[in-house]
């Protein structure tokens, strides 16, 4: 470097300092427009504020933000990736934006999702002023928003149960301050076939909260448009279980087959919701009779009076025949239908599953018998009452005999004692 160059350089530095001093002194020529300018303050880890007595960090990690969906793809949508595209009120002349600012309005870009959210249970609760109602950022985070396919995202399938669980885990402030129809949902989910698929098998294709409840259109099951409403649940499950629903639609339980005013069962009536188990698992097999009994009460009760039902109540009882073992499940048909598993054409084969060499006479065993129905099962009724008569008669006679004997026997004992025996 020549002497002349050095002199110019020094003069330049001086000019710059002078200029900066002037700008800072008057504050008129500066504006907050670029992210760098925001980070001038928010890049400082020590920057905090007080809100409701809590200290909140106002630090933004530039490195993290540059990887988020907004930093990467912000220029594709309605805005760019700048801070002020969300924090619009911060775009002011001068070096200090108003404080506090209004919350970020995601809807200004995500208008469709915003409209859906507003009609959802979360959106309605928020509109009513429920301070526990989640805003966009409660699920998606603020400056760390990543695509759902990014393993670090709060909406990544493996993470969703934890994200929802922050509020919906039993015992959280939300669950203790709100009246909820379902309890222990996250625990039940963890133990369910879907939860095990996620936590044990690590499947991102298993059903997570949003698979059934949707992401933004979360509605209570009682709302007719809810994805988990009775009228929609089959469609919701069909997103994955296509083949099962195709079978079900041909069965007696399907509204396409049976026209009735009575309530027809949907997936969750038999399989339950959050605690849904593998159908071959003990837990599920043990509740089958109860689930079917919710509608078919008489058949369930009388089944429990027979060997299959009685044994099913004891340890290892999952092994005995359950409703679905004889009647089928998704393809269940009434007995008169030739395709029914309990139709005369098929019943020997059905019983033979457990009882090899079963014959047609064997299949006349009454699997839902009761001795309480005189008109339907007179043989059982009269056998039962004949046996009861025998019992009552025998016990009455010998019971009386014993009662009369007691005082005499006591006297004899005392006599023997005085005799010295």
């Amino acid at each position: 470097m020549s002497h002349k160059d050095a002199l110019l350089s020094r003069a330049g530095t001086f000019l710059c300092i002078l200029l900066a001093t002037l700008i800072l002194g008057t504050g008129s020529a500066f504006a907050l427009t670029t992210n760098d300018e925001c980070l001038g303050c928010h890049g400082d880890k020590a920057m905090t504020t007080e809100k409701d007595g809590e200290t909140i960090s106002l630090y933004i990690d530039e490195e993290t933000f540059t990887q988020t969906v907004h930093a990467k793809h912000g220029d594709r949508g309605c805005t760019d990736n700048s801070c002020i595209s969300c924090h619009v009120e911060a775009a002011v002349e001068g070096d200090e934006h108003p404080y506090p600012m209004s919350p970020v309005d995601c809807e200004s870009c995500h208008d469709k999702i915003g409209a859906t959210y507003e009609k959802s249970a979360h959106g309605i609760a928020k509109a009513k002023g429920d301070k526990f109602a989640p805003k966009c950022s409660d699920c998606h985070s603020k400056h760390d928003i990543l695509k759902p396919s990014d393993p670090r995202s709060t909406t990544y399938p493996l993470t969703i149960p934890f994200t929802c669980g922050r509020c919906h885990q039993e015992g959280s402030v939300m669950t203790t301050t709100h009246e909820l129809n379902k309890h222990n949902i996250t625990q039940n989910y963890s133990m369910s076939v879907h939860g095990k698929g996620l936590f044990e098998s690590g499947l991102i294709v298993t059903a997570v909260c949003s698979s059934c409840h949707t992401a933004h259109d979360v509605q209570k099951a009682s709302v007719p448009t809810s994805s988990v409403n009775r009228d929609n649940i089959i469609h919701t499950c069909k997103q994955c279980h296509v083949g099962i629903v195709d079978k079900f639609n041909k069965s007696v339980h399907s509204p396409l087959v049976t026209k009735t005013d009575k309530k027809l069962p949907v997936c969750v009536d038999c399989h339950t919701d959050h605690s849904i188990a593998k159908v071959h698992a003990k837990d599920f097999r043990l509740i089958i009779a109860k689930q079917c009994g919710n509608c078919h009460e008489h058949y369930s009760e009388t089944y429990l009076e027979t060997y299959h039902g009685r044994a099913s109540m004891l340890l290892g009882g999952e092994r005995t025949a359950k409703c679905s073992d004889c009647h089928g499940s998704h393809d269940i048909m009434p007995a008169q239908d030739p395709s029914s598993t309990i139709n005369t054409a098929n019943i020997v084969k059905t019983c033979s599953t457990c009882h090899p060499n079963a014959n047609l006479s064997f299949t006349t065993y009454l699997t839902h018998a009761t001795h309480n129905d005189k008109d339907k099962y007179p043989y059982l009724f009269y056998t039962f009452w004949a046996m009861t008569g025998l019992l009552v008669g025998t016990f009455s006679f010998f019971g009386l005999h014993t009662i009369l004997w007691v005082p005499r026997s006591l006297i004899e004992r005392m006599k023997a004692m005085t005799r010295g025996h």
Binding site: A311, L314, G317, N359, Y379, M387, L390, V406
Partner: protein, 282 residues
């Protein structure tokens, strides 16, 4: 204290005691395993299933003890056949022997006499078998016939339904389970009381385990048998100074009380359950 040593008379032979031991073991197991299924909805039944390892174990034990039952039934037949041959009597007069096990008119008279005794009359002139003992014996015959045949049908339902309609299995279930309720209820209350728990014998009459009773007991409890033995001159032959060893008596007491307690627990559970049903209108 007299100087004469205590004399004993054998009431049950080793073979007879062995048969009764088989009956105790099999009957108690059959009752516990069967009632656990009959009353499966009760918590005590669930406990039994849990302790044993599940209903499949209960079923296996139940069937194993059914085999023991048929076996001791067969042994009893051999015993009766031997007794018949020893007696030198015709079959009819052996079966209806006045001092045999089949109830007769004397038992009716003794029963009436017993009720009078309860109210202060004289103690009846009892012989070798008293009517409630005869009832116990005959009831086991009847019970094995009814419970055994219905039980076999339920054990082999497919084979059974080749000869009979399948729905007869439902009838067999009711007969099997209610007759078993009668048998278990009877043994664990009436038989236990008549034989062991009544104040004269409480807590246990060990004769079925130790085999012999004292001559004094025989004379007091079964005067007719004693007099018959004296009259026939048999008494000299059967009386002995060899009584049961203390070891045998202790074993008999421990085992006997264990069995009576187990049966009593089961029957109390059943009674409480039945009372609840009656209250609940079932």
């Amino acid at each position: 204290m007299s100087n004469t040593p205590t004399m004993y008379v054998e009431r049950f032979s080793v073979f007879q005691r062995f048969i009764h031991l088989l009956i105790i073991i099999s009957f108690l197991t059959l009752a516990v395993t069967g009632m656990a299924l009959k009353f499966a909805m009760e918590s005590w039944a669930a406990l039994i299933a849990d302790w044993s390892g599940g209903f499949a174990v209960l079923g296996a034990l139940h069937r194993f003890c059914a085999i023991i039952t048929f076996f001791y039934f067969f042994l009893t037949m051999i015993l009766l056949y031997t007794k018949w041959k020893e007696s030198g009597k015709g079959l009819f007069s052996f079966i209806f022997d006045p001092e045999g096990l089949v109830p007769n008119l004397t038992d009716l008279k003794e029963m009436i006499g017993t009720v009078k005794w309860f109210f202060g009359g004289a103690r009846p002139y009892y012989g070798r078998w008293i009517y409630w003992e005869k009832f116990d014996f005959m009831a086991v015959f009847w019970g094995i016939g009814v419970i055994g045949s219905s039980g076999l049908a339920l054990w082999f339902p497919v084979q059974f339904s080749k000869f009979f309609p399948g729905y007869w299995l439902n009838i067999a279930t009711i007969i099997h389970s209610d007759e078993a309720l009668l048998a278990a209820g009877f043994i664990f209350t009436i038989h236990f009381y008549n034989t062991h728990l009544r104040p004269e014998k409480f807590p246990l009459d060990p004769v079925i385990f130790v085999g012999s009773i004292t001559l004094a007991e025989l004379k007091h409890e079964r005067p007719r048998e004693y007099d018959q033995l004296v009259a026939s001159g048999e008494l000299e032959k059967v009386v002995t100074r060899r009584g049961p060893t203390p070891w045998l008596q202790r074993m008999a007491t421990v085992f006997g009380i264990f069995v009576v307690t187990t049966g009593s627990f089961l029957v109390v559970s059943i009674i409480i359950t039945m009372l609840r049903y009656i209250q609940g209108g079932h």
